[in-house]
Symmetry: C2
Subunit: 188 residues, 2 copies
C-alpha cells in the first residue's frame, strides 16, 4: 500500500468483526515493528499477544479498577469524562477486539516510552497495510495484579507501554479534525 494512502487510512478503530487475526500474519506485523528505530539501537521492545477473550476481559476489569482508584486519589490524573465510562460494567476498554498486543520493555530504561511508541507506530502502519485495524488503548495499561501479570507473562523487570488492539475493522471512522500544525518558530 502506498504510504500516502496509509497515512489517511490508518485510523484508530474501536469496532471489530468477530474474526480471529491469523497468528502468522500477526507475527509478520510484529517482525515489521522491530524495524523501528530505537535509542542506541537497543531494540528493547518485547511483545505479549492475548487472544483469549476471558483474559482480555479480566485485563480490562483490572485496568478500569486501578484507573478509578487513581482517579479517586488524584482527580487531575485524567479527564473526569472517563469516569462514567470506567464505572460502566459493560464497557470493555479493549472494545471486544479479537486480539490484544502489549508492547513492553524494561522499567529501568529511560528511553522505553519512546522506543515502544516507535514500535507501536510501525505496528499500526503494518497492520493497516495488511488490511487490519488497530487502536492504542492507553486505558488498558494499568495492570497491577501480579497473578494476572504472571498469566500474561510480563516479567518483573518490564512494564507495559503500549496496549494495542488489532482485528478486522467493522467500520473505519473518518479522519477526526486535525489542528493545523503549530510551528512555534523557524530559526533561519
Amino acid at each position: 500500500m502506498d504510504y500516502s494512502e496509509l497515512l489517511t487510512k490508518r485510523r484508530s478503530v474501536r469496532d471489530y468483526e468477530d474474526k480471529e487475526v491469523p497468528l502468522d500474519i500477526l507475527i509478520q506485523i510484529i517482525n515489521e515493528s522491530c524495524l523501528a528505530p530505537s535509542s542506541s539501537n537497543r531494540q528493547p521492545w518485547r511483545f505479549i499477544v492475548v487472544t483469549n477473550r476471558e483474559v482480555i476481559k479480566r485485563l480490562s476489569d483490572e485496568s478500569k479498577r486501578n484507573l478509578l482508584h487513581d482517579l479517586e486519589r488524584n482527580p487531575d490524573f485524567m479527564s473526569s469524562n472517563y469516569e462514567a465510562l470506567l464505572r460502566n460494567q459493560h464497557f470493555n476498554v479493549f472494545y471486544n477486539a479479537p486480539c490484544l498486543v502489549f508492547i513492553v520493555g524494561p522499567k529501568k530504561l529511560l528511553s522505553i516510552e519512546v522506543d515502544c511508541a516507535l514500535a507501536a507506530s510501525y505496528f499500526m502502519f503494518s497492520a493497516c497495510a495488511k488490511g487490519f485495524a488497530t487502536c492504542w488503548i492507553d486505558l488498558g495499561r494499568f495492570i497491577n495484579d501480579r497473578e494476572l501479570l504472571d498469566l500474561i507473562g510480563l516479567p518483573e523487570r518490564d512494564r507495559i507501554v503500549a496496549p494495542v488492539i488489532i482485528g478486522y475493522p467493522k467500520d473505519i471512522p473518518g479522519v477526526p479534525c486535525r489542528m493545523g500544525p503549530e510551528v512555534l518558530k523557524i530559526v533561519s
Copy 2:
C-alpha cells in the same frame, strides 16, 4: 512510495548533502506528522525548525555540555562509550545536518513522550517518502540555557521530546542487525 519499501528504506542517516530542505516540503512533512494518533486525540505536539547552522552548533555544544555534566554526576546515566565523543570539540551531535526539527510539547502532559514519538515516527516516514533522510538525535535534547531556549522559541511550559535532523542523504546505510522479535507469551 509503497510502505513495504519505506519500511526498509527509512534509515537513521548521519551524513547529509550540503543542500537546504525546501521550507514548503518541510511544512508538508510537518503537516503529515500531525496525522499521528495521540492520547485522547489531544495532538499536543508543536514544532520548532532550525536551519541556522550557527544556532545548530550552539545547540549541539549546549547539549554536549549538559550531558557531560549529568554523566559526571551519574555515571549510569548513559553508556560511557559516549563520553569521548561528547568531549570531542569537533563532534556536532546534529551531524552538520542542514535542518533540525524539535518536536516539543507540554511538560505537564503525562502522554507527551509517546505522543511526540508517534509524530516523530510519522515525520521520519513522510520525509523518507519524499526522498529525504532523518535521524532522531536523543543526544540533542539537553538544552537548559534559557537564552538559547528563548532564541529557538521554546516556551517555559514545553519541553523537547524529539530532536530530528533532516536533509538529503549522502549515503544511506544498510539495515543494522535486527534481533528476532521477542514474543514473551501468546495467551490464547
